[in-house]
C-alpha cells in the first residue's frame, strides 16, 4: 500500500446516461512515470478531472499516498500533494509570468491566505519562483504579461505552475499538444527534469513522447483500461494493436 502513490479502485463516472469511465482500476507506484493513452473520447481527460477533484466520481475510490482523496475538493487534493496541468492553457492571463509561478508557489510555502506580509519581502518565495523560472527556461520572460507569451511558452508556463507547489504526484494533460518537433523535444526534457524523484501521470497523444518518457503505460478505451504494462509489453499487446495502435504504429512509435 505504502508503495502506491496513486490508486484508483473501480472508478466510475457517468454524465446522465453516458458512462464515460466504466470501472477503472489503476496503481501508480511512487516515482513511476505512467502514461495514459487511448483514442479521442476514451475518457482520459475525464479521468484526470476525477483524480484532481474537478469532477466527483459516480462510484469508486481514489487514494493518494494512502489517503482517500475521492470526494475532496480540488484545493484539498492539491494541498495533499497532487498537482495537475490542463490541456488548454489555464494560466492567469493578466499577470506576469513571474506572478503566475509565484501563485503556484505561495500555498506550499505556508503563505496561504496571509494578508499581513508584503509579498515582495518573502525571500524564499522569490527564490523558489526564480529557480523554477530558471529551470523551465522562462527566466528571460519573467516580466512579460502571460497573455503575450507565444503558445509553446504558455504551455511551459502551464507546467511551471503545476510543478511550482512541489507536489509529489504530478498530472500532465497533453503537455505537448500543438507543439512543433523542437518544442516537443524541449518540453520532454523539461518534463523529465521536473518529474525527477516524483510520480508522474501523463496523458499524451504523441506516441514518441509516451514511449520515450513512460515507465509504464495504460491504454484507456471507452472508459476502460484494456492493458497496462511496460512500453514493450504495450507495443506487443495484440489487444492494444487492434483497439488503438493499429493506424498510428507506423508514424508515431519508434521501432
Amino acid at each position: 500500500m505504502s508503495n502506491e502513490a496513486l490508486q484508483l479502485i473501480d472508478l466510475k463516472k457517468s454524465f446522465g446516461p453516458a458512462k464515460i469511465i466504466q470501472g477503472v482500476n489503476l496503481q501508480v507506484a511512487k516515482g513511476e512515470r505512467h502514461a495514459i493513452i487511448g483514442p479521442n473520447g476514451a475518457g482520459k481527460s475525464t479521468l484526470f478531472n476525477l483524480i484532481s477533484g474537478r469532477f466527483l466520481p459516480t462510484s469508486g475510490e481514489i487514494w493518494l499516498n494512502g489517503d482517500k482523496i475521492s470526494g475532496k475538493k480540488p484545493f484539498e487534493i492539491n494541498r495533499m500533494g497532487l498537482s495537475r496541468s490542463f490541456q488548454v492553457s489555464n494560466i492567469f492571463t493578466n499577470m506576469t509570468v513571474r506572478e503566475n509561478v509565484r501563485c503556484g508557489v505561495l500555498y506550499s510555502m505556508g503563505y496561504g491566505y496571509s494578508f499581513w506580509r508584503n509579498i515582495g519581502n518573502l525571500r524564499e518565495v522569490s527564490e523558489k519562483t526564480a529557480a523554477i523560472l530558471e529551470d523551465v527556461g522562462l527566466i528571460d520572460k519573467a516580466h512579460l504579461p502571460a497573455t503575450l507569451l507565444p503558445y509553446a511558452d504558455q504551455r511551459t508556463l502551464e507546467i511551471a505552475i503545476t510543478i511550482a507547489g512541489g507536489a509529489e504526484v504530478i498530472l500532465l494533460d497533453e503537455p505537448t499538444a500543438g507543439m512543433s518537433h523542437s518544442e516537443t523535444d524541449r518540453a520532454v526534457a523539461l518534463i523529465e527534469k521536473a518529474s525527477q524523484g516524483k510520480t508522474l501521470l501523463i496523458v499524451e497523444h504523441d506516441m514518441g513522447v509516451v514511449f520515450n518518457l513512460a515507465d509504464r503505460i495504460s491504454v484507456l478505451v471507452y472508459g476502460e483500461i484494456i492493458a497496462t504494462g511496460t512500453p514493450e509489453e504495450i507495443r506487443g499487446d495484440p489487444k492494444v494493436r487492434e483497439a488503438y495502435l493499429g493506424e498510428e504504429v507506423e508514424e508515431g512509435v519508434p521501432a
Binding site: N94, Y107, S108, S114, F115, G165
Partner: protein, 422 residues
C-alpha cells in the same frame, strides 16, 4: 534549498525602482494633503475636500472587490453605513462618558469603523460570497435592500428616517485637535485618507491581495494551486467591508449624522460609478474617480437640474467607449507624451476632441431644453444670450447639427486608426 540560492536570480525590482514606483507617489500624496490648507480654503471647499477624502477611501475599498477580485457589488454602502452608524453610537457613548468610553479620542473613529465594517463583511459575506460573478452582484443588491429596510425598522439602532446624530467635539483631544473647526476636521480626514490609501495599496502587495487578482482572472486554476476561491473572495470581502467602514468612521466625524439612507442603493450606485469612471484597472483610478465625482456632485448640481442625467450619460459613455476610465486616459496620454509620439497622434486627438466637444454641445442643449420644457415654467435655455426655446427650429439645429458632425468626425478617426493598426 542550498543549490537554489546559487541559481537565484533577483527578479524583484531594484530598490530605486521600488522607491520611485511605490514610496515616492505616497510621499507626494502626503505632501499634497499637507500643502492644501496653505491655500486657505473656504469652509465650503474644506467640506468638499473632506468628502473627497471619505470617497477616496470608500472607492478604493470598493475597488478591492470590483477591480482586484472581480466581484461586482451593488450594495457596498452597507459597510460604510454600518461602520459609520457604529461610530456615531461610539461618539454618543463618548459624549455620555460612560465607562471607559470617556477616554477614547474621537480621532480614532475610523479604527472603530474599520472593525465594524469588517464584522459586517464577515457576517454578510458568509452567505453572499458563496456565489461569484453575476449571482454575487444580484445577492449584494438583495442584501443591501434588506439592510436598508432593516435600517428603517429598528429605530433604536438606526434612528428611523431622521437618523442618529452625534457631536464630534466630545472626548479627549488627540494631537491637539479638538475637531471643532472644519480645518481641524480636514487634518483628521487627511490623516485617515492617507492611512486608507496606504492600507489598500499594501493589501494589493500581500499574498491574499495577489491571490484575489488570480481568482479574478481564473478562479478554476486557483483551486489547483491549493486555494479555495470562495475563501479568497470571502476574505477580500471582509477587508473591503473594513475599509468601507473606515470611510464610514471618517464620515461620522465630518457630517456628525447617519441615516438609513446611507445604507441604501443610492450611495452604493454612486461609488460604483465613481470607481468605474475613475478606472478600475488601476490602483489610482478610484482615487481620481472619487475626486472628480465628488466635485461634480457638489458643484454641477448647482448649475443644472439634469446633473444626474449627465452623470448617467458619462457612466454609460465610459462603459462603452473608455473602459479604462479617467486613469486609463491619463496614463495613456502620459505614455504618449513621454515617448515623444505626440505629433503622430496630435491630429487624431484634436479631431476626436472636437468631435466630442460638438456632441457634448448638442447633448447639453438637448438635456437643458428638455428640462426646461419638462418643468413647464416657460423658462427658456439661453446660453450666451442665444434663445433656445423647445419649439424653435434653431434649437433643433443646435441639437442635431453638432451631433451629426461630431459623430462623423469620431467615426472617421476611429476608422483611420483601425486601418493603421490592422
Amino acid at each position: 534549498m542550498t543549490d537554489m540560492t546559487t541559481t537565484y536570480v533577483d527578479l524583484a525590482p531594484s530598490r530605486a525602482e521600488k522607491f520611485r514606483q511605490r514610496v515616492l507617489p505616497m510621499i507626494l500624496f502626503a505632501l499634497a494633503l499637507a500643502v492644501i490648507p496653505l491655500f486657505g480654503p473656504s469652509r465650503s471647499t474644506l467640506t468638499l475636500l473632506n468628502h473627497m477624502g471619505i470617497n477616496i477611501v470608500f472607492a478604493l475599498s470598493f475597488n478591492m472587490l470590483l477591480g482586484r477580485a472581480g466581484m461586482l457589488s451593488f450594495g457596498h454602502a452597507v459597510y460604510l453605513g454600518l461602520g459609520g452608524y457604529f461610530c456615531v453610537h461610539v461618539m454618543n457613548w463618548i459624549a455620555a462618558d460612560t465607562g471607559i468610553w470617556g477616554a477614547v479620542p474621537i480621532f480614532t473613529m475610523p479604527a472603530f469603523g474599520f472593525g465594524a465594517g469588517a464584522l459586517a463583511g464577515a457576517v454578510i459575506g458568509w452567505p453572499s460570497c458563496r456565489r461569484a460573478g453575476t449571482p454575487f452582484a444580484m445577492i449584494s443588491l438583495g442584501v443591501a435592500e434588506l439592510v436598508a429596510a432593516a435600517g428603517f425598522m429598528f429605530d433604536s439602532l438606526f434612528g428611523g428616517e431622521m437618523g442618529i446624530s452625534a457631536d464630534r467635539m466630545g472626548g479627549p483631544e488627540f494631537l491637539g485637535l479638538s475637531l471643532g473647526p472644519l480645518n481641524e476636521v480636514y487634518w483628521y480626514i487627511a490623516f485617515w485618507t492617507f492611512v486608507g490609501v496606504v492600507g489598500t495599496y499594501a493589501f494589493t502587495r500581500t499574498p491574499l491581495g495577489k491571490l484575489s487578482e488570480a481568482t479574478r482572472d481564473n478562479p478554476e486554476r486557483v483551486e489547483f494551486v491549493g486555494y479555495n476561491p470562495q475563501r479568497v473572495r470571502y476574505l477580500v470581502f471582509i477587508f473591503a467591508g473594513a475599509f468601507a467602514g473606515m470611510a464610514g468612521g471618517m464620515s461620522a466625524v465630518q457630517d456628525e449624522i447617519f441615516t438609513p439612507e446611507n445604507l441604501s442603493l443610492v450611495p452604493s450606485g454612486a461609488i460604483l460609478i465613481a470607481a468605474y469612471v475613475g478606472g478600475i484597472r488601476y490602483f489610482t483610478g478610484p482615487i481620481m474617480g472619487a475626486i472628480v465625482m465628488t466635485y461634480m456632485g457638489s458643484n454641477l448640481s448647482d448649475y443644472t437640474a439634469g446633473w444626474l442625467l449627465y452623470l448617467g450619460l458619462m457612466f454609460v459613455g465610459v462603459v462603452m467607449f473608455v473602459p479604462d476610465g479617467i486613469a486609463g486616459v491619463v496614463y495613456g496620454t502620459w505614455d504618449v507624451l513621454r515617448s515623444g509620439r505626440l505629433n503622430e497622434v496630435a491630429a487624431g486627438w484634436a479631431i476626436r476632441l472636437l468631435g466630442l466637444a460638438l456632441m457634448a454641445v448638442s447633448t447639453i442643449t438637448l438635456v437643458e431644453v428638455a428640462f426646461r420644457w419638462s418643468d413647464g415654467y416657460g423658462e427658456v435655455f439661453e446660453p450666451f444670450g442665444l434663445e433656445l426655446a423647445h419649439g424653435s427650429p434653431l434649437t433643433w439645429v443646435v441639437i442635431v447639427l453638432p451631433f451629426v458632425i461630431g459623430a462623423l468626425l469620431l467615426r472617421r478617426v476611429a476608422r483611420s486608426e483601425s486601418e493603421v493598426t490592422s
